[in-house]
């Protein structure tokens, strides 16, 4: 019996899930940096 499909679906989905989480971590990091910049801009306006 060919089990390639089940192995690919398991390992592929795991790799994809980890890649998505890493991309979300990078996006969250960028968002927090942006919030700090906005805070600095507000402070500069004051």
């Amino acid at each position: 019996m060919n089990h390639g499909f089940y192995l690919w679906m398991s390992y592929g989905a795991t790799a994809l899930a980890l890649a998505i989480e890493i991309a979300m971590l990078v996006a969250k990091r960028a968002k927090s940096r942006r919030l700090i910049e906005e805070e600095r801009d507000l402070e500069a306006q004051d």
Binding site: L7, S10, A13, L25, R29, E39
Partner: protein, 238 residues
């Protein structure tokens, strides 16, 4: 070492930043070693054939899903008991990674179950309680983000995390308490019947996932710290 020194968000932010690349590097190395052992060294299983190699990610993911929930609940308890900001932030940081590993455990279990049991899914106690764990993670994340005041969100989510702890022994002992399709534990503290190469591959992947989870949680908590502390002088000075 003075551990209370690290409970300050500003100190922990720098400490986590120093540690994070090491954890990710270790995770990459251990994953490479685990995949090498899992696909090259470990022999084909006499009964299941090649599909048994799914266990090299399924079992570590399932263990991490429960372990991370326990860690999240411990941080939640610390935040409720001592009212520490960092503990609440750590609980929030652990939750998405815990949910990810729970999803991976369920998904890979389905793709292992189809060729071996003949079905992707059965409403047996182990699988259903693991699905409940995924919903608990989702509930924690949703509740934590449901309030304008993040500290209120922290408290509400912490309570849910503590209530959900009851699900962990249910997951672990479900295969003993009920007659389940899911088999019992193969790896026990008293020993295992697994081939040494299979066990090595699985343990390497356990440590790889562990290192990854720490790296991901530390990366996430750094972003949470920046968002929460963005009005403080030390963040603006970064």
């Amino acid at each position: 070492m003075n551990w209370f020194y690290l409970s300050s968000p500003s100190t922990f932010y720098r400490f986590a930043g120093w540690l994070t690349p090491w954890f990710f590097a270790l995770a990459a190395l251990l994953t490479a070693a685990g995949l090498y052992y899992g696909f090259i060294v470990a022999p084909t299983d006499a009964q299941q054939g090649e599909v048994y190699r799914v266990i090299f990610i399924h079992v570590p993911a399932a263990w991490m899903s429960m372990f991370l929930y326990f860690v999240m609940a411990a941080y939640a308890a610390a935040s409720l008991t001592f009212n520490t900001r960092l503990a609440a932030m750590m609980a929030r940081a652990v939750a998405p990674t815990g949910a990810l590993f729970t999803f991976v455990a369920l998904w890979t279990g389905a793709f292992w179950g189809r060729p071996t049991w003949g079905t992707y899914w059965a409403w047996d106690a182990r699988m259903t309680s693991e699905l409940v764990l995924l919903f608990l993670y989702f509930g924690f994340i949703a509740l934590a983000n449901a309030f304008d005041d993040p500290r209120r969100g922290d408290r509400a989510a912490a309570l849910l995390a503590l209530i959900g702890l009851v699900n962990l022994p249910i997951i672990y002992f479900s295969v003993h308490w009920w007659n389940t399709l899911h088999q019992g534990s193969t790896v026990k503290l008293t020993g295992t019947s697994m081939h040494v190469a299979m066990l090595t591959a699985m343990l390497l992947m356990v440590f790889a996932f562990w290192m990854y989870a720490i790296g991901a949680a530390l990366t996430r908590v750094r972003s949470i710290i920046l968002e929460r502390e963005r009005r403080t002088r030390w963040v603006r000075a970064l």
